[in-house]
C-alpha cells in the first residue's frame, strides 16, 4: 500500500469526521472543532502530495499549508468572538435555540 | 564532527564525556549501529537532566537563602551544613505526603496535567546550546521548536485547573492562561528581532554570530537593549515569577491551578516551573547575552559552558533579587501592561533592528536607531505611567 494512498484515506476519513461533527453537534464551539478537523484534513493532503507526489521546487504545498494555518487561526478567533457575543445576548450557544430569524 | 580526533578528557568536552564513553563501550562490544546512537542520545539527554535537576534542587535552596538575606534574616541553615540538605528534606516531604485526588476531579486529566507541564520544560532544555561542543539537540529550527513546545504549557495549565473540579483552580487557570498568552506575544516578537538580524532560527548559529568580545552580543546594540529588556520582562511573566506571579498568588486564590494537588504531583508542578525558568532564562542568555561566548576575546582556556552557566546564574540571581523587592501586580495592571505597553514597544524593535542592520551596523546606525527607539520608550513610559501607576490615595484618617 503506497504511503500516498494511506495518507489520502487518512485525510478523507478525517474530513468525513469533521463534517459529521459540524452536522451533528448542537454546541456552536464544537462545530468550530469540526471545522478545524476539516481544515487539518486538507493540510494533510497538501503535505502528502508535496512529500510523495511529483517533485516540485516551488514548495507550493508547504507554502499553501502555512497560509491555510494562518487563516484557520484567524477564522477560529473571529468565530469564537462572534459566539461569545451571541452567548452574551442569548445566554446560550445551543444553535437550535438561536432561531429568531425563522419567521 | 568526527569523534576520534577529539581528546576524551579535555575540559571543553567534559559534558559530552558520558555520552562518548557509552558510545565507545557499546561500539567495542559490537552493538548494532542504531543501538549505539540511541543509547548515546539517551545518555546525552540524561546528562542534561542530571545537570538541571541538581540546579533545580540548588536553586530552591539558594532562592530561599537570598530572599532571607534581602529581609535581614539568614534562611534555612538547619538541614545539613548551612542548609545544604534542605532540598533533600523538601523532596522527602513532598514524596511522603499523601496524594489526595478530589472526588469531582477527572482522574486521567488530573494525573496528566503535571506531566504535561514538566514535559515541555525538559524538551525546551534540549535545544539550548550550552557550550561550543555541547548542544544536546542542534536543531536547525531550534527557536521555533522552543516556542512551539513552550506554548503547550498553557494547555496543561488549563487541564490542571479544569480537571480539579472546583472553582478556585478554574479561576486560577484562566488567569494563568490569559497572562501567559498575552506575554508570549512580546516574547516572540522580540525574539523575531534577533532572528531577523542573525538570519537563522538555529540557536547554535545565533550564538556563533555573537562571537568576539561582549560588544558583539545582541544586547549591546541599540535595538538589542530595548528588545533584551522586553524579553527579560517577558521571561519573568512567562515563568510566572514574582511581579507577575498572579496564577499561584497565595493570598488571592489559594494556589491557583495547583490547589487540588499534593504530594509528588505538587512537586512536579514546581519542577516544571523551575525547569521552565531555566529554559526561558537560558534562551534569554542565548539570544541576547551571547550564549557561551566569552565576554573578552582572549579567554580561550576557560571551557565555554562555564560562561553559559555563569551568565545563567547571574540572570537567575536577578530574578531572585526582583522577587525580593517588587509586590505582585493586579490582573488588570498586568494585562494593560502587556497589551498597551509591551507589545507596541516590542513591535518597535523590529524596524529598529532592520534599520540598524541595513545601515551597516556602524556608529552611524547607532545614532539613527537609538533616538528612534528611546524617544517612544520614554513617551510610552511617561504616558502610561500616569494611567498604570495606582492613583496616590488620600487617607482621611491614617496619615498617608
Amino acid at each position: 500500500m503506497n504511503p500516498l494512498a494511506l495518507l489520502l484515506t487518512l485525510s478523507s476519513v478525517m474530513f468525513a469526521l469533521g463534517l459529521l461533527a459540524v452536522l451533528t453537534r448542537r454546541n456552536a464551539i464544537l462545530i468550530l472543532v469540526g471545522i478545524e478537523l476539516m481544515l487539518n484534513a486538507a493540510n494533510i493532503n497538501f503535505i502528502a502530495f508535496w512529500r510523495y507526489g511529483p517533485p516540485d521546487l516551488e514548495m507550493a504545498g508547504p507554502i499553501f499549508v502555512l497560509f491555510s494555518i494562518a487563516i484557520a487561526a484567524a477564522e477560529a478567533a473571529v468565530g469564537l468572538a462572534i459566539i461569545l457575543m451571541v452567548f452574551r445576548l442569548r445566554r446560550t450557544t445551543d444553535l437550535n435555540q438561536l432561531d429568531s430569524l425563522h419567521g | 564532527m568526527s569523534k576520534d580526533n577529539i581528546p576524551l578528557w579535555s575540559p571543553e568536552h567534559l559534558p559530552l564525556l558520558p555520552q562518548r564513553l557509552v558510545e565507545m563501550i557499546l561500539a567495542n562490544l559490537g552493538a548494532p549501529e542504531w543501538l549505539v546512537s540511541i543509547s548515546g542520545f539517551m545518555v546525552a539527554a540524561s546528562t542534561v537532566l542530571a545537570v538541571f535537576m541538581t540546579a533545580f534542587a540548588l536553586l530552591s535552596l539558594i532562592e530561599r537563602k537570598t530572599l532571607a538575606r534581602a529581609q535581614n534574616r539568614i534562611g534555612p541553615n538547619r538541614a545539613g551544613w548551612f542548609g545544604i540538605l534542605q532540598p533533600v528534606a523538601d523532596g522527602i516531604k513532598m514524596l511522603t505526603k499523601e496524594d489526595i485526588v478530589p472526588a469531582r476531579a477527572v482522574k486521567l486529566l488530573h494525573l496528566l496535567a503535571p506531566i504535561l507541564i514538566v514535559l515541555p520544560a525538559i524538551l525546551a532544555l534540549g535545544v539550548i546550546p550550552y557550550g561550543r561542543e555541547w548542544t544536546p539537540v542542534p536543531l536547525e529550527l531550534g527557536l521555533l521548536f522552543f516556542f512551539a513546545v513552550g506554548s503547550m504549557t498553557e494547555l496543561s495549565v488549563f487541564m490542571a485547573g479544569w480537571a480539579s473540579g472546583s472553582k478556585f483552580p478554574m479561576l486560577g487557570a484562566m488567569r494563568a492562561i490569559s497572562q501567559m498568552v498575552s506575554y508570549e506575544l512580546p516574547l516572540i516578537i522580540t525574539a523575531l528581532g534577533v532572528v531577523m538580524v542573525s538570519g537563522t532560527l538555529s540557536l547554535p548559529e545565533i550564538v556563533q554570530q555573537q562571537g568576539g568580545g561582549f560588544w558583539h552580543w545582541n544586547v549591546c546594540t541599540p535595538w538589542g537593549i530595548v528588545a533584551g529588556l522586553l524579553f527579560y520582562v517577558c521571561t519573568i511573566a512567562e515563568a510566572n515569577r514574582c511581579p507577575f506571579d498572579l496564577p499561584e498568588g497565595e493570598s488571592e486564590i489559594v494556589a491557583g491551578h495547583m490547589t487540588e494537588y499534593s504530594g509528588f504531583k505538587y512537586a512536579l508542578f514546581f519542577m516544571g516551573e523551575y525547569l521552565g525558568l531555566f529554559a526561558i532564562a537560558g534562551l534569554f542568555v542565548t539570544l541576547f547575552l551571547g550564549g557561551w561566548q566569552a565576554p573578552l576575546p582572549g579567554l580561550g582556556l576557560v571551557p565555554t559552558w562555564l560562561w553559559f552557566f555563569g551568565k545563567l546564574a547571574l540572570v537567575i540571581f536577578s530574578y531572585l533579587w526582583i522577587r525580593a523587592t517588587f509586590p505582585r501586580l493586579r490582573i488588570d495592571q498586568l494585562m494593560r501592561f502587556a497589551w498597551l505597553c509591551m507589545i507596541p514597544m516590542a513591535l518597535l524593535t523590529l524596524p529598529a533592528a532592520a534599520i540598524w542592520h541595513y545601515m551597516g551596523r556602524g556608529p552611524l546606525s547607532w545614532m539613527v536607531v537609538l533616538p528612534l527607539v528611546l524617544v517612544p520608550w520614554v513617551l510610552v513610559a511617561v504616558i502610561f505611567n500616569k494611567r498604570l501607576a495606582p492613583a496616590t490615595r488620600t487617607y482621611r484618617f491614617a496619615d498617608g
Binding site: P3, L4, L7, L8, T9, S11, S12, V13, M14, F15, A16, L17, G18, L19, L20, A21, T24, R26, N27, I29, L30, V33, E36, N40, N43, I44, R51, Y52, G53, P55, M59, G61, P62, I63, L66, F67, I71, A72, A73, A74, A77, V78, L80, A81, I83, L84, M85 | L144, F147, A148, G150, S151, L155, F158, W162, M170, M174, I177, T200, L201
Partner: protein, 163 residues
C-alpha cells in the same frame, strides 16, 4: 512508511474522540491531541517547519482559544448527548458517507508515490514566500491584524454607557 502506519490510526482515534465525546471539554482536548498528532505526522513526513508551526499555532493557540471559550460560555459541564441521538446521527451520516465514498475512491486511484524525499530548505522557503508570494503574505498580515482588532472589539464587555 512505518511511522505513518502507526500515526494515522492514532490521529483518526483522536479525531473520532473529538467528534463523539459527550462532554465538550473532553472533545476540545481530544481535538488538541489530534492536532498535535497531526503535527507529528508532518514531522514524520519531513516537513519539519510546517510541523512546528502547526504545533505552535494550533496546539498552542487555537486549542487553548476553543477551550477558553468553552469555559467562558459555561458549557464545559453540560454533557451533550446529541452525537449519539439517532435523530441527529442518521441525517449526518447520510451526508458524510457519500462524501467519504467519493474521497476514498479517488484515494485508491492515486499513482505510485515517488520515493525521494524533497527537502524543505528554510532560506529558500523564506525567499519564495517574500518574493513570489509577497502580496499574499501582506494580505494575510492585514487579515490577521483586522481579526486581532475585530475579535477584541467583539468580545469586549460593552459597558452600558458606550455603544
Amino acid at each position: 512508511m512505518a511511522s505513518l502506519l502507526i500515526l494515522s490510526p492514532l490521529v483518526l482515534l483522536a479525531a473520532l474522540g473529538a467528534v463523539w465525546m459527550a462532554r465538550p471539554v473532553h472533545a476540545a482536548l481530544l481535538l488538541a491531541l489530534a492536532l498535535a498528532l497531526n503535527a507529528v505526522l508532518y514531522l514524520a513526513m519531513g516537513a519539519d517547519f510546517i510541523g512546528l508551526v502547526q504545533f505552535a499555532v494550533y496546539v498552542g493557540a487555537v486549542a487553548v482559544l476553543i477551550v477558553f471559550s468553552l469555559l467562558i460560555t459555561r458549557q464545559s459541564d453540560e454533557t451533550e448527548e446529541i452525537a449519539r441521538r439517532p435523530k441527529a446521527l442518521v441525517p449526518g451520516l447520510l451526508c458524510t458517507l457519500p462524501v467519504l465514498a467519493v474521497l476514498l475512491i479517488t484515494a485508491s486511484k492515486v499513482p505510485a508515490a515517488s520515493d525521494e524525499a524533497p527537502a524543505l530548505p528554510l532560506k529558500k522557503l523564506g525567499e519564495i514566500l517574500f518574493t513570489t508570494h509577497a502580496p499574499a503574505v501582506l494580505a494575510v498580515a492585514v487579515l490577521l491584524t483586522a481579526v486581532l482588532i475585530g475579535a477584541a472589539l467583539f468580545a469586549r464587555e460593552t459597558k452600558p454607557n458606550d455603544p
